[in-house]
């Protein structure tokens, strides 16, 4: 059994074109957000202020895409009055872009922290923790973009599961920072600063979970928000 949804064509082909355009724009926004995340993380880890500036400047483009897609969705709701899967498609994507926009903001936060962290000299362990968390959320984002393309529920569930590893890593990193701050009070300022970046990466994981929950709703109409992983798997197995 495949867990994918590929819609048939509408009688109004123009409607198909409009929906397809929205999907393309969302994927475009997702790709841009991924670039922001990747560059934001690189800027932070390498202390590359030039790249950080680029990321900060580029956030406007993410915001502009959000507004543009919002308008396109509003127009479809007003003109086409979508029902069933079409309705869930528009609702899911309109919510997806809100989370994309917030991921963009978190990526910008990484870039903003670049100078501050650079001055404090990031330690090897800190570097490793941030790199590891960063790689995990970039992978989650990559897979989320694939789910938007394929609408594969199994893959959406996999992405949601991956967030646990991000949370675990975040907690471990925080514990590491706290104990180091206790031992070496001089590191409190830099530790706090770095913890904010780790927090940004952890939040990105949460936003990606949200997006994959919307995509599950899109495919099978089940609202799977605000439930734990065990219940989620049970609900998806009900069918």
């Amino acid at each position: 059994m495949e867990n994918e949804y590929q819609p048939t064509q509408h009688i109004s082909q123009q409607f198909d074109v409009e929906l397809e355009n929205i999907k393309s724009q969302v994927l475009k926004m997702g790709a841009l957000v991924k670039k922001q995340l990747r560059d934001g993380l690189t800027a932070l880890l390498d202390g590359d202020e030039k790249l950080a500036k680029k990321v900060i400047k580029r956030d406007n483009k993410v915001n502009a895409l959000e507004v543009k897609i919002d308008e396109a969705c509003t127009s479809i709701i007003a003109i086409r009055q979508p029902a069933a899967t079409d309705l869930r498609f528009v609702l899911s994507l309109i919510k997806t872009i809100t989370d994309f926009e917030r991921i963009g903001d978190e990526a910008e936060k990484l870039a903003v922290s670049t100078r501050n962290v650079k001055e404090k000299h990031i330690s090897e362990q800190e570097y490793q923790y941030l790199r590891s968390m960063g790689d995990m959320v970039i992978e989650m984002l990559t897979q989320t973009l694939e789910v938007i393309e394929t609408l594969n529920v199994d893959q959406a569930l996999e992405v949601i599961k991956q967030d646990q590893a991000v949370n675990d890593e975040y907690e471990e990193f925080l514990n590491f920072l706290v104990s180091r701050m206790k031992d070496k009070p001089k590191t409190i300022k830099s530790g706090l600063s770095i913890s904010w970046s780790a927090r940004a990466l952890e939040r990105i994981g949460d936003h990606l979970v949200n997006i994959n929950e919307y995509l599950i709703y899109l495919v099978n109409g089940k609202d799977v928000r605000h439930i734990d992983l065990e219940d989620l798997e049970e609900i998806l197995n009900e069918e």
């Binding site: 059994m1 495949e2 867990n3 994918e4 949804y5 590929q6 819609p7 048939t8 064509q9 509408h10 009688i11 109004s12 409607f15 086409r80 009055q81 979508p82 029902a83 069933a84 899967t85 079409d86 309705l87 869930r88 529920v153 199994d154 495919v219 099978n220 109409g221 089940k222 998806l236 197995n237 069918e239």
Partner: protein, 278 residues
């Protein structure tokens, strides 16, 4: 593992209708239909349809042209009796009573199960007479004042009284389309029906008159059980609590309107309500 909406080309013959999906039955049924077949001569128009009309709820029957929804609606008060070649089989019950039973008088049945048609069809009589006609022939009023009261109450329930109270003696045909349709609804209400069947009641009306009729349907359900056939899916979504989707004479799916319009279970329902059906 999870629900899939497989997407084959719409209207193709490989999509099977194997009994209605969803929830066609309820505990509080006003009318219960079981295994209903309808034939026009040798041609079978309705195939083994079973579902309930829930009491004091609005049930919308939707589906593409020729799917049998109007035919089915007309069975519910034996309007199809007027078509000689039409043959209805199966069980159709009103409060547990067979409506095609020998004991059932079709005229009395039609007073209990009233009908409003697509095109407003007031009698070529005064507004007053249009509403008073039914109560008169069914002997529902003993004197003129009682009849006056029925007429006024019915017109009020149909949301028309204030617009026509000063011209009750003028022809019903002189009213606007929306008013005429409300007059027909008043005429239906006047004989104190239990069920009201509506066959595209607003398709000939402008959006404002349509909104008035829809608001009226919303109010009428407090007292009556309503079944409405409509081609406007938005209208079905707005006015009904239950929706039944028909396709090629079969009931494909029935369930809560909210569920049907956000997450239908059957592929054919999905395709129809999202405009993928040709």
């Amino acid at each position: 593992m999870v629900d899939i909406i497989s997407a084959k080309s719409l209207g193709s013959n490989d999509i099977k209708i194997d009994g209605a999906v969803g929830e066609p039955f309820c505990d509080d049924a006003k009318m219960s239909m079981r295994n209903v077949d309808v034939f026009y001569g040798d041609n079978q128009a309705i195939h083994d349809v079973s579902f309930d009309l829930e009491k004091n709820q609005v049930t919308a029957l939707i589906g593409p042209s020729g799917c049998g929804k109007s035919t089915f609606l007309r069975c519910l008060n034996r309007m199809n009796d007027l078509i000689p070649i039409c043959n209805v089989k199966g069980s159709l019950q009103l409060d547990g009573e067979e409506i095609y039973g020998k004991q059932m008088d079709p005229v009395l049945l039609r007073a209990r199960v009233g009908m409003v048609f697509q095109k407003p069809n007031p009698f070529p009589k005064s507004i007053y007479e249009n509403v008073a006609y039914g109560p008169k022939i069914h002997g529902l009023a003993t004197d003129k004042s009682e009849l006056d009261e029925i007429v006024e109450t019915s017109l009020r329930k149909a949301g028309l009284f204030n617009e026509v109270k000063d011209r009750l003696d003028q022809p019903g045909t002189g009213l606007s389309g929306g008013q005429q349709q409300r007059l027909c609804i008043a005429r239906t209400i006047a004989v104190s029906p239990e069920v009201i069947l509506m066959d595209e009641p607003a398709s000939a009306l402008d959006p404002i008159a349509t909104a008035v009729i829809e608001e009226l349907i919303h109010e009428l359900k407090e007292k009556y059980t309503i079944a409405i056939v409509t081609h406007s899916m938005q209208q079905a979504a707005r006015v009904s609590q239950k929706t039944a989707y028909f396709h090629l004479g079969k009931l494909v799916e029935m369930g809560d309107t909210k569920q049907i319009f956000t997450n239908p279970r059957h592929e054919l329902t999905e395709n129809y309500i999202s405009g993928r059906f040709g």
